[in-house]
Symmetry: C2
Subunit: 343 residues, 2 copies
């Protein structure tokens, strides 16, 4: 096995080392590695073998400088949102498979703060594209002209109305209808942070649905994603509110609502029925367990990244698949079309 008769193996091998050892030019090595030039199969195989044997890996910085492409994508996330780790995982897989490096930036503060930060990162010129999972102002969403394209994964529905996406709230209508069919005549919505498209969509479906069915609504309460917000919403209801159906924007709000019901001596299900969203793990184990919507966050993350990639390549955006599915549990009592188990 030919070993480089050079100086100490201190720095990693370069394409020049490969060329010298393989007895070809650096150009040929480059063509083999990038798969660009027309290289004879024999030469090609030989170069590959030599490269492999000395553990050659292209210097990405050098490549990036020549090609003027960073090969890097930024993903914006925030500290407060628990499900994002799964979104990130999905996005990361897709990005890496496409040959990109994905970096994550956590931003917080007001929506203006976050928008500024995103704008700043976009202007930095280090990224070929950006994806944000936290709400930002439309100003941050470039159309891909001068700055790199910035996509907001929380606003997909506004652009493409595709079913099955993260912010698709249509299953909430199934909740309200099933509950109404089971005899419920009074509803209340505990909303999430309305900066989120998903929170607005759930509220809107709720509002449209109670109106259409002609049932009573005690209003839209809540307004952030905390359990305490869900608790306060129920604590603020009049004493004669029950029987009431609580449509919460997610499971964390729902568990807060459940707690408040117990504190007020209201039974659940019975005086109060509750629905959540997200299928958080604990929801299957509360008393009563929570009826909810299972969301495939990892698939959502993958799809969001596929959308960004399609934008970069000027391709048609791929359609998303169904990411949501209702999980009926104890918190809605007998009110469900097709029963399914608890845990």
């Amino acid at each position: 096995m030919p070993v480089p008769p050079t100086s100490p193996p201190t720095s990693p091998p370069t394409s020049r080392d490969v060329a010298r050892l393989a007895g070809v030019s650096q150009t040929t090595v480059s063509y083999v590695l990038t798969g660009k030039g027309a290289i004879s199969p024999a030469t090609r195989e030989h170069v590959l073998k030599v490269a492999e044997s000395i553990g050659y890996r292209p210097n990405l910085a050098a490549r990036s400088m020549r090609t003027r492409r960073s090969g890097r994508l930024a993903v914006i996330t925030g500290v407060a949102y628990e499900n994002q780790i799964r979104l990130l995982t999905g996005a990361s897989r897709v990005a890496h498979d496409a040959g990109y490096i994905m970096e994550t930036h956590s931003v917080d503060g007001t929506v203006e703060d976050r928008t500024d930060r995103v704008l700043e990162l976009a202007a930095g010129g280090q990224y070929e594209g950006m994806l944000t999972f936290v709400p930002v102002l439309p100003a941050a969403l470039s159309d891909g002209r001068s700055t790199p394209p910035v996509l907001a994964a929380t606003a997909f529905d506004e652009k493409m109305h595709s079913a099955g996406e993260l912010a698709d709230a249509s299953l909430l209508e199934v909740f309200v209808r099933a509950l109404a069919a089971a005899g419920h005549r009074r509803f209340v919505h505990v909303a999430g942070n309305l900066e989120f498209t998903s929170a607005r969509a759930r509220r809107d479906v709720y509002l449209a649905c109670v109106e259409q069915l002609g049932v009573e609504s005690l209003g839209v309460l809540g307004g952030d994603w905390t359990a305490e917000s869900g608790r306060q919403a129920l604590l603020g209801l009049p004493d004669d509110a029950p029987p009431v159906a609580v449509i919460a924007a997610n499971d964390v709000l729902a568990v807060g609502a459940l707690r408040a019901a117990a504190e007020r001596g209201w039974s659940a299900p019975g005086d109060v029925v509750v629905t959540g969203w997200d299928n958080a793990q604990f929801g299957a184990y509360t008393m009563p367990s929570l009826t909810t919507v299972d969301v495939d966050f990892q698939a959502a993350g993958r799809h969001a990244m596929q959308l960004l990639l399609a934008t970069l390549r000027g391709e048609e955006p791929p359609r998303g698949s169904d990411l949501q599915r209702i999980v009926w549990r104890e918190s809605t009592g007998a009110a469900h079309p097709a029963a399914s188990g608890t845990a």
Copy 2:
């Protein structure tokens, strides 16, 4: 204001552009920007002003190629662990403040799979250092010789025994002692995934503590971080187990245990008392609410990154501060030294 009389402003300005406009050499620009050479205040200020005015930003790829430093750090995380978003946020802040770019890689599979992946990333030569929040085999933890240093944030305690770290389980002793003092004579531990140092540490403290106090132990059950595992643990207990104190390795396990108790008709607190860990948001809202340990994950993430940075710089590792604090709630009944509120 002097505007470059050059060709269309297509590509971003380079240090050469700055030099030309400022009437100095590229060397001077570089010295000003890196703060290295001895440059007169006047020149310095002028260069800075020109650079600012044309929105100059150093090309990181070019800089990286010259300095042979990537300025990049990798952080390894996994899909299954919810608290990691806060760890990542803390780590990310510190890394950016230190001028590094932090990239996150999500790995999963067996511990061997994860170790392989970490090794592979380390060998890639793109990172100056790595930090992992998921367990890997010791083989992956380089000592910083040939490959970049790889630190495992899940194993801190094994190396430095510093109080207040993530895997510090000493507060578990407070739980057991307080419960024993309140009259409890029978305990059981629901362990987490024992690949995690934190899970092992909690189990070890539990074992040492029941032995020392001479109270009965129904054993160490569980073995992963899922609520179902907590539920099964309690479902497997003999009918005459109560009264029993359940020491769960985290809140998710604890909520599963609580659910199982209810399914068996055991009251909580009463027949069963339960402690958790992590202070997950839902824990304050379950019925009964969960006594737990609040962990400052963001501070833990910051500290983990500070440790990596200290290693890179050859400095003394900073000591961690106290990250943990017991939160007494309803699930332990009256058994606590100093009472505190529920929600």
